[in-house]
Amino acid sequence: MRPVGVAGFGLLAVVVSVAAFGPVLWGDQATVVDTGNLLAGPSAEHWIGTDNLGRDLFARVLVAARLSILLALAATAISLVLGIILGAAPILVGRRLGRLITSAVNVLVAFPGLLLVLFFAVIFGVGARGAALAVGLAGAPAFARLCHTLVAAVSERDYIAAARIAGVSRLRVLRRHVLPNIAEPLIVNATMAAGGVLLTFAGLSFLGLGVQAPSYDWGKLMQDGLNGIYVHPLAALGPGIAVVLAGLAFNLTGEAFAAAPNRTFSLGGPRDPAGVTAPVPGAILSVDDLRVTIPGPAGPIHAVRGITFTVEPGEAVGVVGESGSGKSVTALAVAGLLEPPVRVEANHLVVAGEDLTAAGAHRRLGTSLAVVFQDPMTSFNPAHRVGPQLAEVSRFHQGMSRKAAFARAVDRLRAVRIGEPERRARQYPFEFSGGMRQRAMIGMGLMGNPRLIIADEPTTALDVTVQRQILELLAEVRRDTGAALLLISHDVSVVTDVCDRVLVMYAGRVVEELPAKDLRTLARHPYTRALVAAVPDLETDLDRPLAVIPGLPVDPTLSPAGCAFAPRCPLADDHCRAVAPELLAGVACHRSGS
């Protein structure tokens, strides 16, 4: 557990035990009137002095813990229960009434808690009970809002729909499916809210609207002490410190629950830097023994486990594989877009003549390397217009003026067949359709003079008819600019359509490398053959079951000694399981001959 969590729990334990046993242990001491010691300063006998009746303030602070904590918890409980009822109402009472409740909550939540507290304090009158009700009611809208947001997020999940279709009642859906799935964030928030309520209470009593004499909580003690702050400040600050400590106890505990996932994981030592090699001459992209390691909770994930390949000028190379094969990570590594703590290692990694391991190389790639990402919906900055986002490349790398760069952006949008490019350039990305955005993204790559285009699943997020247009556009761009293409896809047919050469990846390695036209017919690796056979096309034999690959993909945190595909391979023998095959003559398989 993290130190924050330990501190939080420890502090909370102390605060709760003081609240539980304080009045029993120090109750008498706190009420002893010592007329010879009125308003005394700190001494060995009275650590933080005495009040106007000569009562020991330290004891009183300890005794006040119970009332302060109980009031805070009571008010939090009121807020929480009301909040859950109001927040979950839309599930229970139907759409129309639910919407009414939600908008009422939205109006109420806009008012600061303290204002609501004051409002309710007027109605319930001054005093501990009134204050508890006031603070509790005032906190309800915020909880209702939170609860509503959480419920709405869970309600969109398909398992809620499935349960309703299966005839599960609304109440049972709430109890079995919704509440368990929102309990965790609710508890975290309630814990932190309890800390906040504690402070609010202290404030109310401090103002004289909360606990009334002869009862006292920390706020009341502070109010009493404030008058004498010039004489002895500890009388006011002492209970204040108690409030802060108790507030911290709740907040840190909540924090410890909430912040659990944000952790660092060790990667193990870096590898020996010895084997630096020279790039293949003439290649636009040359990679030797690329390894990418990502820290993960169950140990480092070896996403790419040593791959070597080149792309010649003007060539189109495809990388296929299933999710988790490391193909996208390879693309990001080659594009130089992976950042620590992800570790990228290679004997060399040279793109368009720039060694990516050298300083300054990145900036020079601005005009010679274009990257197209999978999801055009999220790859444009929603806060800026499309034209300036393209123009930025030329302004930044080619020193163009704002006007010239914008004109070039319009020209490039026209080049990727976007109608009315002048108008479109002035629009925001959300005004573009998915296909249009992907065109604009390709246009962005064309602002410079790309020698290599890296496209990571450029059509996966698009409709089938649009996919075709984007692939044709990529082919056209390549013809016009002579740029090479590295195309990443899970779709065998996309890669065979567009590429000259294909790399097949499995578990972070290239298992086979072959001309694209041979992929369907001349593949030698059992995985490649299974991958091709598993995908039905418009000529698939309808009378036979589809080929399937048995078993599950390799756990990426493990490094199997032998061939990673061996556990799923019908041909595997003991040798396969013991010794990892090298990529030789285009295939990494001991049994490729059989």
């Binding site: 924050v4 600061p112 204002l115 109605i123 001054v126 103002l207 703590p341 020079r364 990402f373 444009f380």
Partner: protein, 320 residues
């Protein structure tokens, strides 16, 4: 997609104005009902058990409490439209006058504290996000969150008390209380601003961290821009939306938070008058003050929404 865009602004204005009106009505009605929700006899409570019965009756008649509820409501609304808020029970002064006198002091305090907390929080939040993203800078993160949690756990009035003790009583750098010269603003504004600055800087950091993982930031990096440009031009504007939403809530809670701080510093604002009038059960004054606070909060929220819509055009259409 052309059509909804053309009618975006009028529809946004209509919807937002509608919400403002409904909320205003809620505030007005709530402040009207407040007196009637008080258990027992409010006037008797205000004047004390020793007040003669005919005086209580006279006050009730003056406040219109003897009429049927709907008539009182109508009269209340009618008076409100003429800017009439009634007279204080204890001082007999018109409530409107008292509020007009005290409001500027409160507003100054709240706005100054808000500007200070934003000016401090945004750079700190952005800086911390850049330093600590992707699990880097563990020490910096621990120090930041640690300080943040501690600061957020100190209530503003306690902070005020502490500041008074340190900078006014001990060292006499700033005045202890009251509203005189510029230096009298320093401590109250600090006391009000430090907590919200902590909360806001934390939100800025969280938002920046989330935005920096977005696909479009990867796109910006693929354009090989400098890190500063990526963070300030591409990430920050997108983090501002959520920051501003919270910032609006902060500003309105700052307005309310002045209540406590004003009491510490004997600041002649609305906050000190509302507390004394609640204790004195001076209901017309409480009613008027709650109304002013409520309307102020609503206006701030509306302003924030409009600014948001200008900054982020999606929020104007994506609301329904």
């Amino acid at each position: 997609m052309g059509h909804p865009l053309k009618s975006r602004w009028p529809r946004f204005a209509l919807r937002r104005a509608g919400r403002l009106l409904v909320s205003l009505w809620v505030v007005v009605t709530a402040s009207f009902l407040m007196i009637h929700l008080v258990p027992g006899d409010p006037v008797r409570a205000a004047l004390g058990p020793t007040a003669p019965a005919d005086l209580v009756l006279a006050h009730k008649e003056e406040l219109g409490l003897l009429d049927p509820l709907w008539q009182q409501y109508a009269a209340f609304l009618g008076r409100l439209f003429q800017g009439e808020l009634g007279a204080s029970i204890s001082t007999r002064l018109p409530v409107g006058e008292t509020i007009a006198q005290r409001l500027p002091a409160t507003a100054e305090l709240a706005v100054a504290a808000f500007l200070l907390s934003v000016a401090v929080a945004v750079p700190i939040g952005v800086g911390m996000a850049v330093i600590t993203r992707r699990g880097r800078g563990r020490r910096a993160e621990l120090a930041f969150t640690g300080t943040n949690v501690v600061v957020a756990a100190i209530p503003d009035f306690l902070l005020g008390v502490g500041l008074v003790y340190l900078l006014a009583v001990q060292t006499n750098v700033f005045p202890v209380a009251g509203r005189a010269g510029l230096d009298s603003y320093v401590l109250p504004v600090l006391a009000l601003a430090i907590g919200p600055a902590a909360v806001l800087s934390r939100i800025v950091r969280v938002e920046m961290l989330a935005v920096m993982e977005a696909d479009y930031i990867r796109t910006a990096r693929a354009k090989r821009l400098t890190p500063a440009r990526v963070h300030l031009v591409h990430a920050l504007p997108n983090a501002v939306t959520a920051t501003l939403t919270i910032g609006g809530l902060l500003l309105s809670s700052l307005v309310a938070g002045t209540v406590l701080v004003e009491n510490v510093f004997a600041w002649p604002g609305l906050g000190s008058s509302i507390v004394s009038s609640i204790v004195a059960k001076d209901y017309p004054l409480v009613q008027g003050t709650v109304l002013v606070y409520g309307v102020g909060v609503l206006l701030i929220n509306t302003l924030v929404d409009v600014v948001l819509a200008l900054l982020d055009p999606r929020s104007a259409i994506g609301e329904s």
